[in-house]
Symmetry: C2
Subunit: 330 residues, 2 copies
C-alpha cells in the first residue's frame, strides 16, 4: 500500500468542515482506502459466493443435511437468499461459483467444481494438495473476472453445509487452540450435538498432519474456503479492497495471509460474528470489524451490511467541503 497517499489523506481529513477526527472510523477507512487505491472508489462492489460440500456432515455435525448446499445455490441463482437481498441494497453484483457442491453444477452458477464435496475429515483427507490448488485457482479466477468487469471492492462469501466444522479445525490448526475454544454452534447445533462437533474436530486434528498451508487446506479442507483465500489474494494483487465477512471468511483471510502476507493490507473486516472462535481469529489477524450485529449467517452478509460504511468513507473523502471552501482560516 502507498504510505504517501495515506499521509496525504490523513492531512486532508483535517481540512474538512468538521472537528478533527470526529468522523472516527470513517476517517480511518478513508485513509486505508487511499493507501490501497490512491483515490478511494468502491462504487462497484462484487459479491463472490463460493459453494462446496463437506464429507464430514456424515458425522452429524450440522442441523441441515448436505442437500441444503445445492438448494441454497439454487436460491442464490434465483435471487432469494439473504445475500441477494443485501447485495441489491448495496448495488453489488452476485456471482456464485460452484467449487465442490455434491451434484450437478446449477445453471446460473460458475462451474469450477473440483470434486463432489470433500472427504470426511474425521477419517480421511478433505482433498489432495492438487485439488486444494485448483480450489484456490477458482477463487483467483473469480476475482480476476470481477475486477476485469470493473469491480473495485470484493466481498467473498460462502455456502457449504458443514463448513464451520472445517473452519474451526483450520483455526485450531493455525493457532494451536483446542477444539473447545474454536467450536461454535454453526447453523444452530447445541448440547450433545455441539459436543459431537468438538469431538469430530478433535478427530480431524489428530488424524491429519501438514506442513504447508496448502497441505492444511488439503487435509482439513473446505473447497470453498480455499477458493475464498484465492479470491482475496487476487484482489489484493490488483490493489482492490476486500471486505471480509464473518468467521469462515476470516479463516480464509488467515489462509490468504499465510500464502501471501501482503494481502493483509487490503482487508477491511465487516462484522464480528456470534460464532465462537471468530474473536480468536480476529485477534490473530489483529482485525477490528466495523459491525457487531449478532449475525451468524455467512454468505457474505456481514460484509454486505458493513459495505455502506466503506462507501460513506469514500464519499467523505470525495465530496465534503473544506474550511477553506467556507472561507475559514485554519
Amino acid at each position: 500500500v502507498r504510505k504517501e497517499e495515506m499521509e496525504k489523506m490523513t492531512a486532508y481529513m483535517d481540512t474538512l468542515t468538521k472537528p478533527q477526527g470526529s468522523l472516527g472510523r470513517l476517517e480511518e477507512l478513508a485513509v486505508k482506502l487511499a493507501g490501497i487505491q490512491g483515490k478511494p472508489d468502491v462504487s462497484r462492489p462484487a459479491v463472490l459466493v463460493f459453494a462446496g460440500d463437506h464429507g464430514v456432515t456424515a458425522e452429524g455435525v450440522s442441523l441441515y443435511g448436505k442437500e441444503v448446499t445445492q438448494l441454497m445455490v439454487h436460491n442464490f441463482v434465483q435471487g432469494g437468499a439473504a445475500i441477494n437481498v443485501l447485495a441489491e441494497e448495496i448495488g453489488a453484483s452476485v456471482t456464485v461459483t460452484d467449487v465442490g457442491v455434491a451434484g450437478d453444477t446449477l445453471f446460473g452458477s460458475v462451474d469450477a467444481k473440483v470434486k463432489q464435496g470433500t472427504g470426511n475429515i474425521a477419517r480421511e483427507a478433505a482433498m489432495t494438495t492438487g485439488e486444494a490448488s485448483l480450489a484456490i485457482d477458482a477463487g483467483i479466477e473469480a476475482s480476476e473476472r470481477a475486477i476485469a468487469q470493473g469491480a473495485n471492492l470484493i466481498i467473498p462469501g460462502e455456502m457449504g453445509i458443514g463448513n464451520t466444522t472445517a473452519t474451526s479445525a483450520l483455526l485450531a490448526a493455525w493457532t494451536g487452540a483446542s477444539p473447545e475454544e474454536v467450536t461454535g454452534s454453526g447453523t444452530g447445533v447445541t448440547g450433545e450435538q455441539l459436543q459431537l462437533k468438538q469431538e469430530v474436530i478433535g478427530m480431524a486434528l489428530e488424524r491429519a498432519s501438514w506442513e504447508s498451508t496448502l497441505e492444511a487446506f488439503a487435509e482439513i479442507g473446505g473447497l470453498e474456503i480455499a477458493a475464498m483465500s484465492g479470491a482475496m489474494i487476487e484482489a489484493a494483487k490488483n490493489r482492490t479492497p476486500v471486505l471480509i465477512d464473518g468467521f469462515i471468511a476470516s479463516i480464509a483471510a488467515m489462509g490468504a495471509v499465510r500464502l501471501a502476507p501482503f494481502t493483509a493490507d487490503y482487508f477491511i473486516f465487516g462484522h464480528l460474528s456470534a460464532e465462537a472462535g471468530h474473536k480468536l481469529a480476529l485477534e490473530t489477524l489483529k482485525a477490528e470489524p466495523l459491525l457487531e450485529l449478532k449475525m451468524r449467517l455467512g454468505e457474505g452478509t456481514g460484509a454486505a451490511a458493513a459495505y455502506p460504511l466503506v462507501s460513506m468513507a469514500a464519499a467523505i473523502a470525495d465530496r465534503m467541503a473544506t474550511f477553506a471552501d467556507l472561507g475559514i482560516k485554519q
Copy 2:
C-alpha cells in the same frame, strides 16, 4: 405499537431461507419496524437538522466561536457538510431549520427562529418556557411537513456551537449525575478547558431550578435540542420510526420521552458516540445503538451511518425467499 404485527414478523423471520435468528439485529429491527409500521418501509428517509446558538459560549466552553454555527448552516444549505454527503449516500432529503442561530436566517433554511441564540446558562435562563414551547413546535412542524411529503423515517440532527454544554447539563438535570460524569470534549476541548466546561455546567445546575421538562429546557436550554424533541414526538405520533443520532439527539430523545412517553417505542438508536455521557444517556433510555464507530460529530451523521442497516432489515422482511419457496418442509 402493534404487538400482533411484531409477533407475525417474528414468526415470518423463521420461515426465511436462513438458520433461525442468524441475521441477528437485522431481524430484531424488522420486528421493531413491523410493530411501528405494519409493513416495514423506510425507503424515504428525511434528515431534519435544527440549528441554534448558545450564549454559554461566552464562557469559553468550546473550541469554535459562535459564528461557526451560521457558517455551518451555510455549509448545510450548500451541501458540503458531512451530513449532506452521508444523506446523499442513503438517499435522504436534508432540511435545515433555524430555530435560534444568532444572525439572519439564511436562504435555503427554514425560518423558525425563536430568538438570537439562548442566554448564557451559567448566569441566566436559556429562554422562557414560552420560547421553549415555540422551539418544540418548530420541531413538530418540521416532522409534520417531512411526513406530509412522504418521509417514512426521520433522522433528527443538530448544529449549535456550545450545544454539548447544554446537553450535558440536561443529562445531569434528568439523571442526577455529576458534571464530571456527563461532560465530554465536545468538538475537542481538553485539559483546563474541559475542566472549565465542567465548572460552567456545575454553575448552570446550581443556578437553575425547574419542575417540568419544559422548565428544564427553558433554564438549561438548547433551542435546537427542544426542537429535536418536538420532531421526535410528531414522528412517533405518525407511526414513523425515528433514527437517533449521538449524544445530543439522545438527550433530545430523553426530553421527548419525558414529554410523551409513547415516543420511546419509535426510536432506533444509531450510534454510540465517543462523547462522554452518551453511555449514561443510553443506559437511562435502555437503548442499544447499532454502531460504535468513534464518531462524535452530530448533525445526524451517526444515524445516517446506521440507516442502511434499517433499510436492509426492511428489505429482508420484504424480499427473501422462504423455505416453502424452495420446496423445503420445516
